[in-house]
């Protein structure tokens, strides 16, 4: 015999029981959600901590702070030639080259050694050891300083000179200091002297701009920098900006505002969406086949890199631009058309200006993506070692992500692990600031309807 009351109680009990279960399920779900987010965040944190902890110290390098005497007894060169009246520029160039070669013949190492001997006269007999404390590029740095300013002759200048990469590794403790001599990269005497100079002010860990401004270097690893790769990336990005953004915006405007809706435009649309998903290495292969092999464009040139990256960026920017155009309410178009504006006037005077923030965001994100791209560049020869800073988009150069790849493969592991991480920091900083710019532009110019 069941009364309505007991039936109700039964129902309530069932609800109460299942309620507990449903609450538990919700709690579980929330817990997993939090867990997933925490996990993702912790990976980001681990990534940043490991990159920063390895990369930031690399901006500080073992550096000698020395009084360098430009000794006229060692630098025995004539004064720099000046153009004679009536002399052709080519002839003068020849004489100037001859003078520069003569300056190059000067034993600059001796000047470096002397600056240390001035501090420690007892080391006069150990010039070879002293020389090995400096990174080999510093002799050229001294020479270039003198070529730029021949008045230095006879003067004493306080200079910062980079120490050898292995000295830097030793001072920093990146190599186990307790290892036996056979496993050390430096001889016991060099290590002893490095420590002795480090104990005085002569050798310090100084913030070094070499990493940021110098081109890559193999013969003098301590002076290897990102300057060349950075300029290479800048040229590529400019090519991408000037080429892919106008093309993509034009294509998007036509497809969105003017093109008739039919099978052909549908096909184009599908293909653009597919192109955006094509792996970047495929664009590299295409670039190598078309630009290098067929059009005979130069290897390792930022122009070619920019062209390949433009192909890759085009669909991204087209899609972003179309989305921005679509977001402009039809009432704007109708109002303009209603007041007698032509279709072109409507688009260019009203729709496009309102869509600009979206277009810019899309363009910047596309370009930032291109900046970080490595794979297609390897296929067009941009992974080559280039020891100069490119002066234009036709000169050979590396690019920032490729430089990271190259340093990662350098045989001097103890030194280049830090350098690689530092390069990653620079690249990440660039990407983050570009993305920040995109966000700022969107916030600044965004219109809410």
């Amino acid at each position: 015999m069941t009364t309505p009351n007991s039936k109700n109680a039964e129902r309530l009990a069932r609800v109460a029981a299942s309620l507990k279960k449903r609450h538990a399920a919700e709690k579980r779900f929330r817990f997993f959600g939090v867990l997933a987010s925490l996990l993702a965040l912790s990976f980001v944190a681990i990534f940043f901590v490991s990159i920063l902890s390895r990369g930031l110290p690399a901006f500080w390098q073992a550096t000698f702070n020395l009084d360098v005497y430009f000794d006229p007894a060692i630098i025995e060169v004539e004064p720099r030639p000046v153009p004679n009246p009536g002399e052709s520029p080519a002839d003068f160039q020849q004489r100037d080259y001859a003078w520069q070669s003569q300056v190059g013949m000067v034993n600059w190492n001796r000047i470096l050694e002397n600056s240390l001997i001035a501090l420690r006269p007892d080391l006069e007999d150990e010039r070879r050891t002293l020389r090995s404390l400096f990174t080999s590029g510093e002799r050229f740095a001294l020479r270039d300083r003198f070529i730029e300013n021949p008045d230095l002759l006879g003067q004493t200048v306080r200079l910062k000179l980079l120490a050898d990469a292995n000295v830097d590794v030793w001072i920093r403790g990146n190599i186990d200091r307790d290892l036996p001599d056979a496993q050390q990269q430096l001889s016991p005497r060099v290590r002893e002297l490095a420590d002795a100079f480090f104990a005085t002010d002569a050798l310090q860990m100084n913030f070094s701009t070499a990493l940021l401004v110098n081109p890559d270097s193999r013969s003098s690893p301590a002076s290897a920098g990102l300057g060349g790769a950075f300029m290479g990336s800048v040229y590529m990005i400019l090519v991408v900006l000037f080429l892919s953004v106008p093309l993509a915006v034009a294509a998007a405007i036509y497809l969105e505002e003017f093109a008739p809706r039919n099978a052909i435009t549908d096909l184009i649309e599908v293909n653009i969406n597919n192109l955006a998903a094509v792996p970047s290495i495929v664009f590299g292969l295409l670039g190598a086949a078309v630009f290098i092999n067929y059009l005979k464009m130069p290897l390792s040139a930022p122009l070619v890199g920019g062209l390949v990256l433009s192909l890759m960026t085009l669909p991204t920017v087209i899609i972003a631009t179309r989305a921005a155009l679509k977001a402009v309410p039809p009432s704007i178009r109708q109002a303009a058309l209603g007041l007698g504006a032509s279709k072109v006037q409507t688009v260019f005077h009203h729709v496009l200006p309102l869509a600009i923030p979206g277009v810019l965001t899309g363009a910047i994100i596309g370009v930032a993506q291109a900046l970080g791209e490595t794979a297609p560049l390897l296929l067009i020869g941009m992974s080559a070692f280039v020891s100069t800073i490119p002066g234009g988009p036709l000169e050979q150069s590396a690019a920032l992500p490729v430089q990271i790849y190259l340093w990662q493969g350098n045989e001097l592991r103890n030194f280049f692990e830090g350098r690689t991480a530092a390069a990653i920091i620079v690249l990440l900083a660039l990407m983050l600031s570009m993305n920040a710019l995109a966000i700022w532009l969107r916030k600044r110019f965004e219109t809410r309807w």
């Binding site: 056979a182 013969s219 464009m297 130069p298 020891s387 800073i389």
Partner: protein, 345 residues
Amino acid sequence: MRIINSTLGLAVAAAATLSVATPSLARDNIQIAGSSTVLPFASIAAEEFGNTFPQFKAPVVGSGGTGGGMRQFCQGIGASTIDIANASRAMKPAEIESCHAAGVEKIIEVKIGYDGIVFASRRDKAEFKLEPKHVWAAIARQVPIDGKMVDNPYGRWNQIDKSLPNQQITLVIPASNHGTREVFDEKVLIEGCKTFKEMAKLEGDAQKEACLKLRQDSGTVVEIAGDYTETLARLQAQADAIGVFGLSFYESNLDRLQIATIDGVTATQETVISGEYPVSRPLFFYVKGEHIGVIPGLIEFAQFFVSDAVSGVDSPLFEAGLIPLSDDERAKVLSNIKNRKVVGK
């Protein structure tokens, strides 16, 4: 100056993007590609060259392995092809033919020095005293046991020879795109293989084929197509692994690696020069004769590279681990360059 250059560069960039189809743009620096063993040496030489000659630009040095470099070298003549191919082995007749077919006829061979090939393991593991026959027995697909060829049964080194450590066999070797692999095949595997009488009976190509068949059970032989750093990373991940490296790479990583003796000889610059250490090979680069006089500084670079000051004893390349040519060899190479002596004709 730099700023003017950059702004000019921007103008050029804008102009160039408009005239994309401009064919064959002239080039005023040397372009090099090829062997990753020669790459560090060529890079240093290139940098010093640019620093020494104010009138020439520093050459640009790419990688890609000996085989890859040869392919690019033999693509033809013109500014978009490379001028110099680095090689860690001599050019093969087939490669010379393909070069000739593409119109590259004047190939000048330049020997720059030697490099040792070492078997390195982690510092914290046991020391190895290897012989070529041990290496072959460790990684051959079939080995003779009691006069019969059987599938390679060895899992640990001490099963091959009691004198070797009780350690799992994992050998990390360069893949076939590397010139180093060829030398490894020739000077270690075939030499080791021939010490077994069953294999010594075979002749010519049959022997070569049988000797170079490697076992395929997982993990014993790892082929690396990338650089030596990749091999090093393998060693860090797999404590028991032994990696095949160039001597110069080992010398930059003394703190992490130790090398096995081969036939009782430790690889050093001295033992390789004297020929005591058996696994060494000459390093080369090949100059495209057709580009001499077109690409500025090409012949000067070749001479600069092999000059005693750059690649002799106590030179920057020697410091970087290159084993120098003898004086006689150097004189001969320099005269070959001077006389533009071409290969394969």
